[in-house]
């Protein structure tokens, strides 16, 4: 009996061993480290992971297969790295996406038309006329009570995680002000959690700030169901008085999301220029030759389920004007003063 059992187990073991010799290793499709291999790897990475093909096709007829055919014809086995980089970078520019980059040791391919093709609408020289040098500075945020009792917060980026203590301290010091300007011009983004934390200082109840989804497979239309992004009121001091948010075209990514939250969830007035957009959270990948690829991977929508990839319009359009510039005035800040002084407390 024992012998029969033993032999059964032995046979089972041998069968398992045979199966193990035949098992297939789980591997990813690989591309050669050649000009053609790297080009194909780049095209394939974007093809399988990029999240805005549908929108770009509707907007200006982007056909990613056609781009492959077009740019692949420039690839030759003899081309050097600079030439390959130029071809790959040009192909990526067809996506017209500021979150798409190709980074090599010697250069970063980019699409920056979303702000370079527009007026800057921001001058740190003009800003200095308001901030001076005696402003407060914490976690990257500069803030000050201006002479007309308007509070001014300048947030140059969202790279730093705000602690609730930082934000509470800022709003505590500005509590005496009759209005507040939150300036996110030239803010290229950073951490979504920081943008959300700042927006949550302006709401008093749980609010849906927008929606988010992600790709569930390699297909251009393979997306999960959008899920609500819920903003929760900050536990510290929250701003209850009028507020104006200043924007320009260089207000991008997480800063664009901050404006989206402020527009949807608060009574804030958005003033300035259209934001730069960038509502796709970027992921990274890499090519066989080591070049780093960045691309939009996780799309975010506003409360009306509209993508803000192309930016968010302000409630009041204002550009910096030359006469104001010559007088050392920031046209947007001056306009914000008028809005706040006209707002009932």
């Amino acid at each position: 009996m024992h012998h029969r059992t033993f032999h059964s187990v032995l046979r089972l073991f041998l069968a398992c061993m045979f199966m193990l010799t035949a098992y297939s290793c789980i591997t990813e499709d690989t591309f050669d480290n050649t000009p053609q291999g790297n080009f194909d790897a780049l095209w394939n990475t974007i093809n399988e992971h990029y999240c805005f093909f549908g929108q770009k096709n509707t907007q200006y007829g982007l056909d990613w297969d056609a781009q492959r055919a077009r740019y692949s014809s420039y690839i030759t086995p003899q081309m050097n790295s600079s030439q390959l980089f130029e071809v790959c970078g040009n192909m990526l520019r067809e996506l017209r996406d500021g979150h798409v980059n190709l980074t090599a040791a010697f250069n970063t391919a980019r699409y920056w038309d979303w702000y370079e093709a527009y007026p800057a609408n921001f001058s740190d020289s003009l800003q200095r006329n308001y901030l001076g040098t005696d402003y407060f500075y914490t976690q990257g945020i500069k803030y000050k009570i201006l002479p007309n009792n308007i509070g001014y917060i300048y947030c140059p980026d969202f790279d730093v995680s705000f602690g609730s203590g930082n934000l509470s301290a800022i709003f505590s010091r500005l509590a005496v002000c009759s209005g507040l300007i939150v300036d996110v011009r030239n803010n290229p983004g950073g951490q979504l959690t920081s943008a959300q934390a700042l927006a949550e200082c302006f709401i008093n109840r749980k609010t849906t700030g927008g929606y988010i989804c992600h790709k569930t497979g390699k297909g251009h239309d393979s997306f999960s169901s959008p899920e609500a992004i819920t903003l929760t009121p900050a536990e510290g001091i929250r701003w209850q008085k009028p507020v104006v948010v200043l924007t320009n075209r260089h207000c991008y990514s997480a800063a664009n999301t901050f404006v989206m939250y402020m527009k949807a969830c608060t009574e804030a007035t958005i003033l300035g220029a259209r934001t730069g957009g960038g509502c796709g959270m970027p992921f990274n990948s890499e090519l066989p030759n080591g070049w780093l690829v960045r691309f939009s991977a996780v799309p975010m929508y506003d409360v009306n389920m509209q993508l803000t990839e192309e930016g968010i319009d302000p409630d009041i359009f204002v550009d910096l004007t030359t006469p104001d510039w010559l007088q050392g005035k920031d046209t947007m800040i001056e306009a914000a003063f008028r809005v706040l002084h006209a707002s009932p407390l």
Binding site: N284, P288, V298
Partner: protein
């Protein structure tokens, strides 16, 4: 009844050691094919009762890593590993069932093919197995049974932005088997062991194909992140071949280990292929009845 624990000479326990074995699949097949020959070759072996075995081994080897959530490229580099094993008998099935408690911790530092990017990874494995023993010959024993495994850790990519890391969490139900063979060589009692564990079914954490950790952890959107695993979606095999060598009053254990942990869930592919050389010691304890 009074129990006392004593440490005994290694030669007394040569047929009852429950230490781990490492082997790749080809040597493993050769080993099992040679079993009948080995049975005949073995003249005699001790069969004294060993109740508990503890072993600790330090391993050094190389790992090949793939995590398509982080990169489509395979990273390679060194791995260090600590393997801790405890075995003890149970009263199940008239004492023919033993329990093996196997804990492994490892740290890896791997590089992409062009060495532009690096992975830092750390994993902890805990496996608990119940083995039923057959002894077809005095010097040969086979053990087989179920094994429950828990696997946790993470990989960090040094240059990715919003997908910089990947968490690894899994619960495995494995099949586990051992072959233990005792023999004498140069007037010393040696013991060779081969252990094979492979996944039958389990559950594993994985983000969805393009899902960000911001959605999972900051927004609490955790749908479809717990995935069923099977030999079709997660070919996971652990092989261990060891040799116990008496050194003075104690025993040294040397071995090789091959770990193949893979998943293909949510359209994401991962693999950790590890080869390690191990060295350590074994201690045996028995319950002495008055």
């Amino acid at each position: 009844m009074r129990y006392a624990m004593s440490r005994q000479d290694s030669s007394d326990y040569s047929d009852t050691l429950f230490s781990r074995c490492i082997m790749n699949k080809v040597p493993a097949i050769l080993f099992l094919l040679l079993v009948p020959i080995l049975i005949k070759a073995q003249g005699k072996g001790g069969d004294s009762l060993i109740l508990r075995t503890h072993s600790t081994m330090l391993g050094l080897g190389r790992i090949n890593q793939l995590d398509s959530y982080l990169s489509p490229l395979e990273y390679t580099g060194p791995q260090v590993r600590i393997v801790q094993e405890n075995t003890r008998p149970t009263r199940l099935l008239r004492g023919r069932v033993s329990m093996q408690n196997l804990i492994q911790a490892n740290f890896s530092y791997t590089k992409s093919p062009t060495e532009d990017s690096k992975y830092l990874s750390g994993m902890l494995d805990w496996n608990l197995a119940l083995h039923y023993m057959w002894q077809p010959a005095p010097a040969l024993r086979f053990l087989a049974g179920p094994q429950l495994g828990m696997h946790g850790g993470g990989i960090y990519n040094t240059r990715n932005g919003n997908n910089p890391a990947q968490a690894r969490l899994a619960i495995d139900l494995n099949a586990s088997g051992l072959a233990i063979y005792s023999f004498r060589l140069f007037n010393r009692s040696l013991q060779a062991r081969y252990q094979l564990d492979f996944l039958l079914a389990g559950m594993a954490f994985s983000p969805e194909y393009g899902q960000s950790y911001y959605e999972i952890f900051s927004l609490g959107q955790e749908k479809h992140n717990l995935c069923f695993t099977s030999p079709f979606s997660a070919v996971t095999v652990n092989q261990l071949l060891t040799l116990d060598i008496p050194v003075g009053a104690s025993q040294m254990r040397i071995g090789i280990e091959h770990v193949m942990r893979q998943t293909h869930v949510n359209h994401l592919k991962t693999h950790d292929w590890t080869w390690l050389f191990l060295i350590g010691y074994v201690r045996h304890f028995s319950l002495v009845k008055p």
